[in-house]
Each structure stands twice: as structure tokens, then as C-alpha cells.
């Protein structure tokens, strides 16, 4: 068996193990889903009228704000769901089973790859659910072409991959699952200070750079552009650069920690 097919088969085995965990103990995934759902409903039904008036230059309808906020909420869903990856990686590392894997002739990377692929699949399922809820409450991206839909899906997947690798690194670095979960909290907080809920240029001047120079804002702006036809500008490239950079960073960080001698 070649090195590649060994890697694929071992990683597939690890992936099935992680999916089995997620299926059998869905409480963590469901808990993590609650937050973006609550935010969506809160911002649309409670803050929606005021927000619409704010972004639409007065007299806008609530549906305008639904259109504005949904791409942001989809990205938030990614940020909050990957926390599950940090926690489950950390749980794995504190258990003896990983030590067993390390002493077996399996492809070294398969443990982390299994976690990453499993987490990306879970994130995409969560995003699809949020998307369905958004449609149900009036989100209508009717102008998007099939190609734009495909690009939007690709962007969501790429962003999920990037944040998952970072979360896996946090899971490796945290001394226990709780600490790893706390370490991953910025992934929930970062979108709150992005252009998810209000446009960056309506924020106070001193704050705008904080909103602008972080991964969520360009990713959200690109998604908006793809689904709703707003101006994308440089955001597309910036978003892809963030995704590639974070993926590379998270990958290097995670594998370096994994290859270190365990305690």
C-alpha cells in the first residue's frame, strides 16, 4: 500500500470515529448552534427595525436588514461551531487513546486530519441549517447566479477549514478541554467587532481599523457580494489570503504540537 493510500485510509478511519462521536453525542454541536440562531433571531426581530433604519439611510424595511445580517451570521456560525473542534481535540489529547495511535504504524497526520475534516463537515451542516432558517424568515438571495452560489459555498468551506485548523491548534495547545474552549473564544468575539451587524464605515473612526483588519470582515463582505450583488472590491482576495494564511498557520502550529513528545 502506497504512502498516500495509507494516509487516505487511516484519515478516513479517524474521520469516521469523529463523526460517530458527533452523532452519538450531539449536545455540544447543538449547544454551539444555539448562539448563531439566537443572534439571527435577535437582530432580525428585536433590533431589526432600528438597524434597518440605520443602514438603509432611513425608511428601509426589515427585509433589507435580514439581507444585510445573514451573511454575517453564516460566518459567525463557522466561528462558533469550530470551538467544538478545539474542545474535542483537547479531549482526545488528554486521553490514552492518542498515545496508542502514536505507537501504531498509522499515518501520523491522520488523527488531526480526521478532526479537521469532521469539523468542516459539521460546520457546513450547521451553516446549511442556519441558511435554511434565514430563508424561512425572509432571506432572498434571488439574484445570485449558480456560479456565485458555488463560489459562496467554496468561500464558506475555505473559511471553515481555516478556522478549524486554528481551533485544532488551540485544542493541541490548551492543557485541558476547558482551557482549549476558552482559548477559542476569540473566534466568537471577533465577528461581533466585524461588519457582520453594521457596516464598518459607520463605526467610530478609531475603531474602523479593528473591524477592517481581521478575517471576518472581508469574508463577510465577499459573501454579501456573492449572494446579494453588493460591491466586493478587494475583499475577495483579502478573504482568500486570510483563509490560506490561517490554514497554513493553524496546520503548522497543530502538527508541530502533535509531533512534539507527549508529556
Amino acid at each position: 500500500m502506497s504512502a498516500l493510500s495509507l494516509a487516505v485510509r487511516n484519515s478516513n478511519t479517524m474521520l469516521r470515529r469523529n463523526l460517530l462521536h458527533a452523532r452519538r453525542y450531539p449536545s455540544m454541536t447543538l449547544n454551539l448552534l444555539l448562539q448563531p440562531i439566537m443572534m439571527l433571531l435577535l437582530f432580525v426581530y428585536i433590533f431589526g427595525d432600528v438597524m434597518s433604519a440605520g443602514i438603509g439611510g432611513g425608511g428601509a424595511e426589515r427585509s433589507d436588514y435580514i439581507a444585510y445580517v445573514v451573511p454575517g451570521v453564516l460566518m459567525i456560525t463557522i466561528g462558533s461551531t469550530v470551538i467544538g473542534a478545539a474542545v474535542s481535540v483537547s479531549m482526545d489529547m488528554t486521553e490514552g487513546l492518542i498515545a496508542r495511535f502514536r505507537t501504531m504504524a498509522v499515518y501520523r497526520g491522520s488523527v488531526l486530519i480526521g478532526h479537521v475534516v469532521g469539523s468542516v463537515l459539521q460546520v457546513l451542516a450547521s451553516v446549511a441549517l442556519l441558511g435554511a432558517i434565514a430563508m424561512a424568515i425572509g432571506f432572498r438571495p434571488t439574484d445570485a447566479t449558480p456560479l456565485e452560489w458555488l463560489a459562496a459555498f467554496g468561500l464558506l468551506a475555505l473559511f471553515a477549514l481555516a478556522l478549524t485548523w486554528i481551533a485544532v491548534g488551540m485544542g493541541m495547545a490548551g492543557p485541558n478541554p476547558e482551557a482549549a474552549g476558552n482559548m477559542a473564544m476569540p473566534l466568537i468575539l471577533l465577528p461581533l467587532i466585524s461588519s457582520a451587524f453594521i457596516p464598518a464605515d459607520t463605526m467610530p473612526g478609531w475603531f474602523q481599523p479593528i473591524a477592517e483588519y481581521q478575517p471576518f470582515t472581508p469574508a463577510i463582505e465577499t459573501l454579501r457580494g456573492l449572494l446579494l450583488g453588493t460591491e466586493i472590491g478587494h475583499n475577495g482576495w483579502i478573504a482568500i489570503a486570510w483563509c490560506v494564511g490561517l490554514t497554513a498557520l493553524g496546520y503548522r502550529w497543530s502538527t508541530a504540537l502533535f509531533n512534539r513528545d507527549p508529556k
Binding site: 478511519t13 462521536h21 490514552g96 487513546l97 505507537t103
Partner: protein, 323 residues
């Protein structure tokens, strides 16, 4: 570089050294385990037993040392070593969220067995380790003994020729411990090499062909259980008195006995045979000495252990077999 002797050695280590910061855990130890034998590393807590297993099983790297396991160099080709070994660590390496059967099938899958081959191997091992009834239950609900059995069964899925067992019976009840011993003997009869660490001297005595006593990162003695027992002074009969006056008169009468004034006890050298015991009893009767307690002490690995691992480890009272 392969020497003629290392062919028949399952595990060979020369000058194995490992330190964490300025704390030396293993201070240049040599090990040679012939294929098909049971080797036991015996030592108190913190002696470095687990570190030795972790290094030899490729989990962590040694600082220095020429190490070969299954004929492969540990530093140069760890994957080849991994293909030859099975490891059951001190803490259970099972997936608590899955069932016993799922754990076993996971192992079969990682060993690249075909589906039917995997199912057959798993069914056999579950049967052999008495886990058929529990197979469909989550491992989190298993007892300690069941988890240990599953742990070893998982280690055996790949049919390893060299097995590392780090304190395999720690935390098991006496029945489970004896079952584990039976399992280990069975493995060895199938030609498997077993590297066992234990704190139970009885366990090393029962199972091991060769025993090395590890203390403070150094091997203090190595040999068969009998060889090690020969290293320390022979047995004795111990007489204990409640009454200081009776003790004094007995001590005067039995001049060759070793006195322990604080414990009010006397030790008479003896091999513990029926004949010697009778002559001592006759002699005590004729001298009119009546001890409150008489114990026969035969040398066992405990003595070796406490003698070799230093007085700091010795209990205030040596273990005695009351007859």
C-alpha cells in the same frame, strides 16, 4: 549495524539515557530481551519504568542510546518498530464514547484488515477476552477490569510480536489479576515477547524469565527470580515477645540470634524447612522460652527489592509470611 547477537534479541538497548531538564530519569541503562521471553522491569514509583516503555514503544524519544526493537533502529525507522509492537499503557487507551466492538473494529481498520478479516479477528478476541456480552455497550460503562481486557484485546488486533505492558494489573482485583496473568502466559506460549513493568514483585516472580530492578534511573540488578533471590541473605525465624523480661532471658539463651530490642524480637537464621523448624521449637521448649509470635521468613523478591532499592524504600516492618 547488526551484530550476530541482536538477531535473536527482540529488544536491545545500550546506554539509554533520558532527562527532563536537570532531572535524569534514565541514567544509561542496558537491556537485552531475547525473542519469545517475558522481561520484567521492576521498580518503585518514579524509578523510570514508564519512561523506558514510552521510549522503547516510540512514544517519546531518548536523549542518548543505541536502541533496537524487533530488529529495527528506533531513531532511524520508528514506523517499522511500530509495525512490530503492541502497547498497553498504564492508563487505558480506549475510546469511552464508542462501544467495545467499535473500539476493536477501529483497531482492525487502522491495521488495514479487510472488512471480513477485521470482523473475524474482532469476534475472536472479544470471545477470548470474555467481552462478547459487553461488546455492544459504550466503554464508558465498563468496569476497570473490563476496560483493561479491552485495552489488551485492542493491542492484539494487529497480532504484534512484541508487546509492552506498563503495569497491566494495577488497579485490578485479585481475580482479574490472575486472569491477566493467564492471558500473558498464553501470549508467550504463542511466541510473543513481553516487556512488562510492575510494582508487584509477585507478578514479576510469576511471569518473568528475566527481571531487572530499576531504581533512580539505573538498573541495580538483573537476572532470573532465583538468581536475584540468591543475592540477598537467607531466611530466618522471628520470635516476638510481649514481655520484656521473657525477651531478655530468651536473648541471653539464644546467643546466635540477632536482637531487635525495640520490637522485642529475635531472628534466628533458618531455611524455613520443617526439620529446622522442629529443631528450633524443640530447643525453645527445652530452654523454657515461650514466644508470643513465631514467624518464618523466606527470602522473596521483596527482600531483593528493598535491599537493592535502598533503605529509604524499606518499610518499617519487612513482609513476613505467617505460618
Amino acid at each position: 549495524m547488526t551484530t550476530t547477537t541482536s538477531h535473536s534479541l527482540a529488544i536491545a538497548a545500550k546506554g539509554l539515557r533520558k532527562a527532563y531538564g536537570d532531572k535524569t530519569v534514565l541514567d544509561g541503562i542496558d537491556l537485552a530481551v531475547p525473542a519469545g521471553t517475558v522481561f520484567s522491569l521492576l521498580g518503585p514509583n518514579g524509578a523510570g519504568k514508564t519512561t523506558a516503555v514510552k521510549i522503547l514503544s516510540t512514544l517519546i524519544t531518548a536523549d542518548v542510546g543505541d536502541l533496537r526493537v524487533g530488529g529495527h533502529d528506533l531513531a532511524a525507522d520508528p514506523q517499522a518498530v511500530r509495525a512490530a509492537i503492541g502497547v498497553t499503557g498504564q492508563f487505558s487507551a480506549v475510546d469511552g464514547l464508542m462501544t467495545g466492538e467499535e473500539n476493536m473494529l477501529l483497531m482492525a481498520d487502522l491495521h488495514l484488515l479487510s472488512r471480513s478479516e477485521g470482523r473475524r479477528t474482532v469476534a475472536e478476541l472479544l470471545e477470548r477476552f470474555d467481552l462478547v456480552e459487553a461488546a455492544k455497550k459504550p466503554v464508558a460503562t465498563y468496569s476497570g477490569g473490563m476496560k483493561r481486557r479491552l485495552d489488551i484485546a485492542m493491542t492484539l488486533v494487529g497480532n504484534p510480536r512484541i508487546i509492552f505492558l506498563d503495569e497491566p494489573t494495577t488497579g485490578l482485583d485479585p481475580r482479574s489479576r490472575h486472569n491477566m496473568w493467564g492471558i500473558i502466559r498464553e501470549l508467550v506460549s504463542g511466541g510473543v515477547t513481553v516487556f512488562l513493568t510492575t510494582q508487584h514483585l509477585e507478578e514479576a516472580d510469576e511471569l518473568a524469565d528475566r527481571i531487572a530492578v530499576l531504581s533512580d534511573g539505573k538498573i541495580d540488578a538483573e537476572g532470573s527470580a532465583d538468581e536475584l533471590k540468591r543475592l540477598i541473605p537467607g531466611g530466618h525465624v522471628r520470635l516476638r515477645f510481649a514481655d520484656p523480661a521473657a525477651y531478655q532471658s530468651a536473648a541471653v539463651a539464644l546467643r546466635e540470634a540477632t536482637r531487635d530490642d525495640e520490637a522485642l524480637s529475635l531472628q534466628i537464621p533458618s531455611d524455613g524447612s520443617q526439620r529446622e523448624l522442629r529443631s528450633i521449637l524443640d530447643w525453645l521448649d527445652s530452654a523454657g522460652i515461650e514466644a508470643d509470635e513465631l514467624t518464618v521468613h523466606t527470602p522473596d523478591l521483596d527482600d531483593v527489592f528493598f535491599t537493592l532499592t535502598g533503605p529509604a524504600n524499606a518499610p518499617s516492618q519487612p513482609k513476613e509470611n505467617v505460618r
